[in-house]
């Protein structure tokens, strides 16, 4: 029996005249991995930012467990709410004035990070290095380590393979697959990399012009008859 973790209902978000999310509905289920795909500018990242509480939506509601409309939370409640999420940002978003150990300490006060670094395939020697001294792939791994270190209820991965070469992208996908499947954590992945979808998504939501145009099991996406989805997969405009 699937249990709803996050309910997005009739969400509407616009920036001046530009409507980004147009009364969008989406359910995220517990312990499942959902991939949100779509063209650039379709509103994928805005949707996740609204879900996390980093951005206020204009209308509609987002519910998380017992919380009914996260737009109504006060500052303190919002901070508590955000702490339920572990996020791997598109550019990793490591604090560049701090070394890797200090970055990881934001997520957990522990002194040793050997285990988590081992999980994401990084050596201990990087702890004293600064983000600018690491490759983009290594930064993504540290970002992932930071996201899962605080044992979040929901893991958000924003374009986890963007900017990586195919080999590193495959390694990151496989790493995420192992982590997600092992911990059974609820995961929302924003991507336009179909390799990521095939690798670790249970369900897929295809976003176009601010609405979910297609939703279904990941393994069935190739059989979809929706022309936008077919074109997206084939890489046709």
């Amino acid at each position: 029996m699937r249990k709803k973790k996050i309910i997005v209902k009739d969400i509407y978000k616009s920036f001046k005249e530009k409507v980004v999310l147009n009364k969008l509905n989406l359910d995220v289920y517990e312990s499942e991995s959902l991939s949100i795909i779509g063209e650039s500018g379709s509103g994928k990242s805005i949707l996740t930012r609204c879900i996390v509480g980093l951005l206020k939506y204009d209308n509609g509601s987002i519910s998380f467990g017992n919380l009914n409309n996260i737009n109504n939370l006060n500052d303190k409640e919002k901070m508590d709410y955000m702490s339920k999420f572990g996020i791997l940002f598109q550019n990793s978003a490591l604090l560049d004035s701090l070394n890797i150990k200090e970055n990881l300490k934001f997520a957990s006060k522990q002194d040793s990070f050997n285990k988590i670094l081992d999980e994401v395939g990084l050596p201990n020697s990087i702890l004293k290095k600064y983000p600018s001294e690491l490759s983009v792939g290594m930064q993504k791994r540290v970002g992932l380590a930071r996201a899962i270190l605080k044992k979040p209820e929901v893991l958000i991965l924003d374009e986890p393979t963007t900017g990586l070469d195919p080999i590193i992208a495959r390694q990151i996908n496989s790493l995420i697959k192992n982590l997600v499947k092992k911990s059974k954590i609820t995961t929302i992945t924003v991507t336009h990399d179909m390799e990521s979808v095939y690798e670790f998504a249970d369900y897929v939501a295809f976003l176009k012009k601010g609405i979910i145009e297609w939703y279904g099991k990941a393994r069935k996406i190739n059989k979809s008859r929706n022309s936008s989805v077919i074109n997206f997969i084939k890489g046709i405009n």
């Binding site: 980093l54 901070m79 955000m82 702490s83 550019n91 978003a93 604090l95």
Partner: protein, 265 residues
């Protein structure tokens, strides 16, 4: 006639838009300030970040403030001599130098130099953090960016600027001393005695009050513009420019207001 009416209408619309956006910006700045006060009172204070910023804004600005002060003191002595020698009032030079430096030049010049150096750096650093989602990352890691980034910088500015100005006062007076003693053949003891006898507590104090206010303005505007940076590198550059321009203008404006306040005392 209709064309004229339409042009007038467009002009009025634009004017209202400008007035509205001006008051909107004021409202945003006030809201930002109130948030700083609220989080300073209610949430964690990062002492180590404050100390780091204190060193960055205060200690690291010493060379630039020192150089500005010494040259200003030297120029002031030379220019005063040019004027005062015309009516045989050369003995008043030490008094003019110390009064101008402590009351006016050291705080204003230190303020403007720190605005260009540290204010710009603050806006650029926080702006980059904003556009690269580092501030969002902080929020999701249960860290209030106001407490972690903004409040320590503002407090460091408020406290370090007066200390910089004290150093600037001493170096500025010494600049005047060097010129008067070595170039204009003043008696060193008399020069220092004149300076010491003439300067009053209120002269130094008013300069330090100015410095504190300037320190607040520089760091606050740097943080505010950095925190509201949008877009990419261009947005960060713009926030840096806004920070330096707005804090410089506010320094000059507040300088007049504080001066007129102390003038009445």
């Amino acid at each position: 006639m209709t064309r004229l009416l339409s042009s007038a209408l467009t002009l009025t619309k634009r004017l209202f838009k400008i007035i509205f956006s001006f008051f909107y910006s004021i409202g945003e700045i006030v809201e930002f300030f109130l948030k700083c006060v609220k989080y300073f009172i209610t949430e964690k204070f990062y002492v180590n970040i404050f100390l780091k910023q204190f060193l960055k804004i205060g200690f690291n600005s010493l060379p630039v403030v020192g150089l500005t002060s010494i040259f200003t003191g030297m120029v002031l002595a030379l220019q005063s001599y040019t004027g005062f020698s015309r009516f045989s009032a050369e003995s008043a030079i030490p008094n003019v130098v110390v009064l101008s430096i402590t009351r006016e030049l050291a705080p204003v010049l230190a303020g403007l130099m720190v605005a260009g150096r540290s204010g710009a750096a603050i806006a650029a650093e926080i702006g980059t953090m904003k556009v690269t989602e580092q501030i969002d990352a902080l929020k999701t890691l249960s860290t209030n960016p106001f407490n972690y980034l903004i409040i320590p910088r503002i407090l460091a500015g408020i406290i370090s600027l007066p200390l910089l100005v004290i150093v600037g006062d001493i170096i500025g007076v010494m600049g005047g001393y060097l010129i008067c003693v070595n170039l204009l053949n003043f008696n060193p003891t008399v020069y220092l005695q004149n300076t010491y006898n003439f300067v009053e507590f209120i002269d130094v104090f008013s300069g330090l009050v100015k410095a504190s206010v300037f320190g607040f303005l520089i760091t606050f505007m740097g943080c505010y513009h950095g925190f509201n940076a949008k877009g990419g590198a261009q947005g960060v550059g713009q926030s840096t420019t806004y920070s330096v321009v707005s804090s410089s203008i506010l320094i000059l404006l507040m300088n007049y207001i504080i001066t007129s306040f102390f003038f009445r005392l």
